[in-house]
Each structure stands twice: as structure tokens, then as C-alpha cells.
């Protein structure tokens, strides 16, 4: 997923303060450290992965984003990154609100459940889709709140946050998503990448 890292890296300003929520083995953190010289922290729920991050010299907290983001003061990071984990939370709404509180901006990437293969899988086979980006079966998937790119746009209106940038990843190619191409992007993108910010009103 190097392309995803590059897209995220391109969005982030040099030397900014970044929090990677669900930082996994720290690969993105390392990438951003090297390419953008950021001051970066990670939060990760898996003990093994936290230990992997420590072995890479990364500053990581073992913790659960749904419970542990509250310890960070408002706007304590320039960017908070949430890479392909929104769908795994019990309460994505609370997580998004916390990201937008803790970070001046947030970068959220989602595996797109609106992709045509996913749709076709369910339509033809009549079973829950298993694809390259979504490799688990329904009974063992950590992804309990799958959504599509279109859903994410609707989500931004419902819980009221601004989407500054929305990018589609199709076969390692990046393109912009806008209201006129949303239908096709939602059908062909494997991944949606969004730069978001709290709306002024809330």
C-alpha cells in the first residue's frame, strides 16, 4: 500500500505534528518520518504491533482509539491519520468526532464497499464479499461498519464535518472525487482518502 502512504504524505506539511491512529506495525509512521520529517506518535491496540513499532524506534502508545483519544487536548496535532480502520470501530461517529477534536485536520482512508467487485460479489454469489482489500469472511472480519465513498460523503453532512480533499485510488492511480464523478468513483475506487476538518459551527 505504498501508494496510499505517498498520497497521505503529499497531503501532510513538513515538520508537522502527526498522530497515527491504529498505526499497525508503524510502516506509515516511518514513511512520514523519512519523507516529511514529522513529529509523529502512534496509537495501536495490538501488543505485538506496539512492540514492533518500539523496535523501529517509533513513539507508540498501546491503546484503544475509542477510549484513549480523550487523553489528548484539543488540536494537539496538526494531522490525525486514520488508515483503513474506521470501519473496525464499534462507534465510528465518536471516533471521527475525536479525530477532529484532537487534530486540526484529519486524514481518513476507507476501503470502499461500493467497489463494483464487492457489489457484484453480493449480487451474483449472494455471499458477503471477499476481495483483495477486504480479505476476511463475514464471521471473522474486524470490519463491522463497512461503508462506501458515497456513504462517507453523507456521513460528513450528518455529523457535520468539512471534506477538504477527497481522492480515489484505482489500480494505484490517484484521482479527485467530486460531486459530478462520485457515481463512477464510488464504483471503481478500491480506497477513498479524505482530508477533513471540523466545521466551524460545532
Amino acid at each position: 500500500m505504498k501508494t496510499e502512504y505517498k498520497i497521505i504524505s503529499d497531503i501532510i506539511d513538513k515538520s508537522s505534528r502527526v498522530l497515527d491512529v491504529g498505526c499497525d506495525d508503524g510502516a506509515l509512521m516511518e514513511y512520514l518520518k523519512q519523507n516529511k520529517g514529522v513529529d509523529i506518535r502512534g496509537i495501536e491496540i495490538s501488543k505485538e504491533k506496539v512492540q514492533t513499532c518500539i523496535s523501529k524506534g517509533l513513539t507508540v502508545l498501546e491503546g484503544n482509539a475509542e477510549l484513549d483519544l480523550k487523553q489528548f487536548p484539543n488540536k494537539s496535532f496538526d494531522y490525525v491519520v486514520l488508515g483503513q480502520t474506521l470501519q473496525a470501530f464499534v462507534n465510528p461517529e465518536i471516533v471521527i468526532k475525536e479525530l477532529l477534536r484532537v487534530g486540526k485536520k484529519a486524514i481518513v482512508t476507507i476501503p470502499n464497499f461500493g467497489h463494483w467487485k464487492v457489489r457484484l460479489n453480493l449480487l451474483i454469489k449472494g455471499t458477503m464479499p471477499v476481495t483483495k482489500t477486504l480479505p476476511n469472511e463475514w464471521y471473522n472480519t474486524p470490519n463491522i461498519h463497512m461503508c462506501t465513498i458515497k456513504d462517507f460523503f453523507k456521513f460528513s453532512e450528518t455529523i457535520n464535518f468539512k471534506i477538504f480533499k477527497s481522492l480515489a485510488l484505482i489500480n494505484n492511480n490517484v484521482s479527485n472525487i467530486n460531486s459530478s464523478n462520485l457515481f463512477t468513483k464510488n464504483l471503481f475506487s478500491e480506497l477513498g482518502i479524505f482530508l477533513i476538518e471540523k466545521s466551524d459551527e460545532n
Partner: protein, 371 residues
Amino acid sequence: MDNLNNIKTILIEKPLKLDCGKTINNFPLAYETYGTLNEKKDNAILVCHALTGDQFVTGINPVTKKDGWWSYAVGPNKSIDTNKYFVICANVIGGCMGSFGPSHINPETQKIYGTDFPIITINDIVNAQVNLLDYFGIKKLFSVVGGSMGGMQVLQFVSNFPEKAKTAVPIACTSSHSAQNIAFNELGRQAITADHNWSDGKYSSNKTVPEKGLAVARMAAHITYLSKKGLQEKFGRKLQERDALKFGFDADFQIESYLRYQGSVFVDRFDANSYLYITRAMDYFDLVKQFDGNLSDAFKNSKVKFFVISFTSDWLYPTQENKDIVIALNAIGADVGFVEIDTDKGHDSFLLNVPNFLKTLKNFLDKSYIE
């Protein structure tokens, strides 16, 4: 105790004002070092020992002839690699391995201080230790590391001297001793003072020491260092060198025999009055209160890189209390990492062969050193 001539000490001439209001000066601080201080003097790690530890961190303790208390973690190529780092450890003041403590002779009475020794705190302990940095000409430690009461010293050290450490690793500790912690310590102190031989702390003069009381204190404390699961797995209801219950109060069970043994070996190496003084220092430790209820203020503007470690089965200083330190540090944007190590070895995990812990500690230190 014999072999005290193997102990290195510095004499601290400078007056040290203690939290209790008294001032001490010209007092000895015993220490030991491992590894070599490099030319830049930037490879020093101050290791802080726990309640019953001492300055003999690793190798054979020249006084007790047993392995140093942190032999698993400290030594060549180990977590705290003495091929790389210069390790310093001081016996805490109030202790009984050469540093100024209640077993020293009071020049005014020519008798041991006993309970005339001033009450000391973690803050006093740390303020005495910092003299070792001046002695070795170290401006900034690479790290200050410690578990349990050692972790409390780590927190106090970086709070008192934020410029004197690059990294800090408080392990299995707390920023404020809990009611339960105080309760267990009080149980130990009561066991000692209830022993007839304690004689108001003047036992050394009549050559009898409160062995029974100190052993009971150690036995009670030892239980708090282990987890229920660990105890059950190691001992269960296994009988001690017998096939059936003896219907008496002998040590029928292995766990009884084990605890009695732990108690009996402890009295050979530890001074009962020191036990009173050091547990008191732990009970008085409340870094939160020192900063008017805001722990974050203890680390304000700190550039120190922190790494907090806790253990799943530690119920004496549970993960949440360690996490409170992390939360306070995050509240001020400090550089802090945190990991909870999965183990059933209880609070004692930091002293034992727990590979994930040892590996993680090594990784943190070695990676931070090259940065």
C-alpha cells in the same frame, strides 16, 4: 552484615534539606557502576532500585554473594547493555547497603540512629542521588530507569531535573501511592514493630534483631508481588515433602514453605529499620499532590522522551496507574510511548525473565540511543 568494605561510597558534604524539615550533610551515598563512561559522557544510565534492592544491579552481589537483583535486564548485550552504556546505581538513603541510613551510628549518641533517623521521601532520595552525576561529571544522563519504587524515583528525578535526562523509563509504578499500597506497607511495618526484638528500633545495641517481624513483613509483601494465577500455577495445593496433610501448623503446603524461605533469607540481607523508612518514603510519594493535583505540571516543558511499561498481572501497581502517567504526559504533548506486557508473573515481572519485556526495554533504549 559482612563484606561492607566492598562498597563504594561518595561523601556528600553539601547540605541536603529533607522534606521533613531536617538538613543532613557529610553523609555517605553508596553506589556501584557497570560498563564504561564514554568520552562524551553521554552514555550513562541511572538505574533506580526498588524497596528491597540495592546498588548491586547485576553480576554477583559482593555482600550477599547472590545474583544482582536485575541480572536479567542489565549486563553485556542485555536490555541495558553494559557494553554500550555506563550504568550507575545508588543505594537509596535510608537503605542498608552503605548509604546513610538508620543503621548508621549517630555521632551524638554513639548508638545507631534507629528511629532517630529522619523520615526520608522519594524526593530526598533523588536529590541525594543526583550528586553522583556531578561526581562523574555527567551533565545529562542518556536514561533514568527503574521499576516499582525505582519507577517513582524516575518520575521524581525527571520532575526535579528535566535537563538531566534524555530518556526516562518508569516501569510498573505509580505517581501516587494508593490506599491499598499504603495498607500493605503498614502491615509490614506493624509486623516489624510488633516483634519484641524490635525494641523501639534500638535492636542493634542489644544484638538482637526483629527477625520474625521482618520475615513476616517480607512474606506479606512477597504475595503482593505475584499474581494469583502465577501462584496457582507454580504451587497450587502441592504439599511440601509429604504425602498427606499433617493436621498441624507446620508448612504442609509448598506455598507456605516458599514464603517462609523468602522471609528467612530476607532477614539476612535487610535491616528492619530500613524497611520501615523506605516503605514510609513510598507511602509519602504523591507526585500529583506535589503539583496541586495536576500531574502534568510535574513534567511541564520537559524534553525528556518517556517510555512507560506496565504488566497485565500486576495488581500492586496496575496498568491504569501507569497509564495515568501516560495521560498526564500526553496532556502536555510530551514524547511518551507506552506498552503493557502480557505476563502472569505479577508485579515482579520486571525483575524476572519475561522475554517480551526485556526485548522491548532493549529496543527502546538502543533505538533512542542512536537517534
